[in-house]
């Protein structure tokens, strides 16, 4: 696979299929691991149902309460910036939407390239800031594991290779694009086996939290 075009075709072909298969299988296992264990029956007379409060918390937990914002402004602001930046680049970049359309038969309008470009640059800077924070903040230093840096690394690589490919900073172009696709595939493969799982399981966790507090009459 010395030819960059062969490499690109490999990333778009067999590598892509393997990555999606591992991702899908891994994620299915992770979600099953949660639901198969389930919960014991709760005999305490509830003050409210679980579904409404659970769904409420799924939405509201995205916004930090005022006190947390004051005490952890970096976490809240930079966290928001890079998550939204990542989502914009992923879901509103026109070439990504073409891929989505080719896979699912439908897509939605994207944003002009220069805007996505700017957002991507901001996201890269924000991601570097989160790494510095993780390496220097006492709490993050204490609780960080190898996995945190692995996940940071692959997330950063996905965005960085996309940025480099768009600006033709790696040549030839098929190599640049192939590297971007490959890093996205590694991201997909790692997702079910690392904290990246939160992309899917945080919804479940928030629901359980909202349901548990909700049945006791507290909007969590």
């Amino acid at each position: 696979m010395n030819d960059p075009m062969d490499f690109l075709l490999w990333t778009k072909g067999p590598a892509f299929e393997w990555a999606v298969a591992i991702f899908a299988f891994g994620l299915l296992v992770r979600v099953l691991e949660i639901f198969i264990i389930g919960r014991r029956p709760n005999f305490a007379e509830p003050r409210a149902g679980e579904w409404g409060p659970g769904l409420r918390t799924v939405l509201t937990r995205s916004i930090a309460d005022g006190g947390t914002f004051q005490r952890a402004p970096f976490n809240v602001v930079v966290g928001w910036i890079w998550h939204i930046g990542f989502l914009i680049a992923l879901l509103l970049f026109i070439p990504h939407l073409e891929l989505i359309k080719s896979l699912f038969g439908f897509a939605w309008p994207g944003l002009p390239n220069p805007i996505v470009d700017l957002v991507t640059a901001v996201t890269l800077v924000a991601l570097v800031a989160t790494l510095v924070h993780r390496l220097t903040h006492p709490v993050k230093k204490r609780i960080s594991t190898f996995e945190d840096f692995l996940v940071w690394g692959i997330t950063f690589l996905v965005v960085l290779t996309g940025y480099l490919a768009y600006h033709r900073l790696i040549n030839p172009y098929p190599l640049a694009l192939g590297l971007h696709i490959l890093s996205a595939e590694i991201f997909l493969i790692l997702l079910p086996f690392t904290k990246l799982t939160h992309i899917f399981t945080a919804v479940i966790a928030r629901w359980y939290n909202g349901a548990s507090f909700g049945r006791r009459g507290v909007a969590s």
Partner: protein, 420 residues
């Protein structure tokens, strides 16, 4: 009691893993925001007090035994195991520096109910022999004497006689067929006997039929604080038996936070079935009496009052508006602390911390968060509705030379009853 071993501890942790635990650990991104919600971290700045770190023993068991990937890694010997040395180190984190106040559970961005997992982790700590002496002693006393402080009925009987002579009212004992069974906490009986007098007067004026039980007067549950379901279930069952025997419709949890969590929310699950009666906190009942016009007061306190919400009552049980309705009934100059209700800050003494003498220094360190909150609004007095919180507030304010008396809400209401 059979021997406490690491194996038993691991089995207890295993038994605590459920769907929510799996969802929570699957979702943690190590952001550390939980630390900013913990008074023990905020006031010491020591990152070992980060809440999610406190449940690491439970996480290790979940990861290595309840996930496909973890099992694979475990088979290859690549996972970190829970050892006796680890649990010995974690004892301070799980007990001394956690009041299970639940504030972390309310701020975690991915929704992890960390407090609930600390509660679960304690089951493993007890079973492996890593619980603090103070809590073990309280649990043994609770099982053997009915009270975590070793208080006996005869002591309460003396108080009952005092109340009867000072009020001229009967304190009903073992009365069949009344509506309510009132429970007490030993801390209240010893430190705040005015509570019993207050409810005697209030119930008399409001026409509430009630009784105490000689078979069980203790509402608190040392089994829940230490983290032992067998002890906890035994203590709850005593209340259930007393209530059923007297045929009451409702059991009243006293001015105590964790007792309410224990009876109201954990109790039915500990005994494995719903109760044949309701459970209300005294503050809920007083607010019901207020709303129905049965609680009539006159006059108002004129000094500047503020309020400490017990975590177990507000954040963990949804009793938030009731105490404000009541305080506004009898106070004209009430101001809330800035973060109150579900976002209030713990006094630092709950969750068994106050029964664990070894934790005295860090308990007082955590109190500094509450102190800072109180300083922000400069009240002349503080009102609360939990004997443990009240004791901690009194001791803490004295420690920092702040001349702010602390009063129980129920007794304040009783002071304003309309004379018949």
């Amino acid at each position: 009691m059979s021997e406490l071993t690491l194996e038993r501890g691991l089995a207890a942790l295993r038994a605590e893993v459920d769907g929510p635990v799996a969802a929570f650990f699957s979702s943690c991104v190590h952001c550390g925001i939980c630390a900013t919600a913990c008074p023990f971290y905020v006031e010491t700045g020591d990152p070992k007090y980060t809440p999610i770190l406190k449940v690491e023993p439970l996480r290790r068991v979940w990861s290595s035994e309840f996930t496909l990937w973890g099992r694979l890694m475990s088979t290859l010997g690549l996972t970190k195991k829970v050892t006796d040395e680890m649990l010995a180190e974690w004892e301070e984190l799980v007990y001394d520096s956690c009041s299970m106040c639940g504030r972390c559970s309310l701020v975690c961005p991915v929704g992890n109910d960390i407090q609930a997992m600390v509660r679960k982790t304690r089951e493993g700590m007890v079973a492996s022999g890593h619980a603090p002496e103070g809590l073990i002693a309280a649990s043994v006393r609770a099982v053997q004497t009915g009270s975590p402080m070793g208080l006996q009925w005869k002591t309460l009987q003396v108080q009952i006689e005092h109340v009867q002579s000072s009020t001229g009212l009967e304190v009903p004992v073992d009365k069949q067929g009344v509506d309510y069974l009132a429970m007490l906490s030993s801390m209240e009986v010893i430190n705040f006997p005015e509570y019993l007098e207050a409810i005697t007067k209030i119930f008399h004026r409001a026409g509430v039929t009630w009784t105490l039980s000689t078979e069980c007067f203790e509402a608190t549950n040392a089994g829940i604080q230490i983290g032992n379901k067998d002890v906890a279930a035994l203590l709850v069952q005593r209340i259930v038996d007393a209530a059923v025997k007297l045929g009451v419709k409702t059991v009243i949890s006293p001015e105590c936070g964790h007792a309410f969590t224990a009876i109201r929310w954990e109790g039915p699950n500990l005994i494995g079935k719903p109760y044949p009666f309701e459970v209300v906190h005294i503050i809920e009942l007083l607010d019901q009496l207020r709303a129905s016009g049965r609680l009539k007061t006159e006059g108002k306190e004129s000094d500047r009052l503020s309020m400490h919400d017990p975590c177990n009552l507000a954040r963990k049980s949804g009793v938030i508006d009731q105490q404000r309705n009541l305080v506004n009934l009898v106070a004209e100059n009430f101001v809330d602390l800035k973060e109150h209700g579900k976002f209030q800050w713990c006094c630092g003494a709950g969750g068994g911390v106050s029964s664990n003498e070894r934790a005295d220094a860090i308990k007082m360190a955590a109190f500094k968060r509450k102190k800072a909150q109180i300083e922000e609004v400069s009240p002349e007095r503080m009102v609360t509705m939990c004997a443990t919180c009240r004791t901690q507030l009194e001791e803490g304010l004295e420690e920092f030379n702040m001349d702010i008396p602390v009063v129980g809400l129920t007794e304040m209401i009783a002071d304003h009853l309309v004379e018949k």
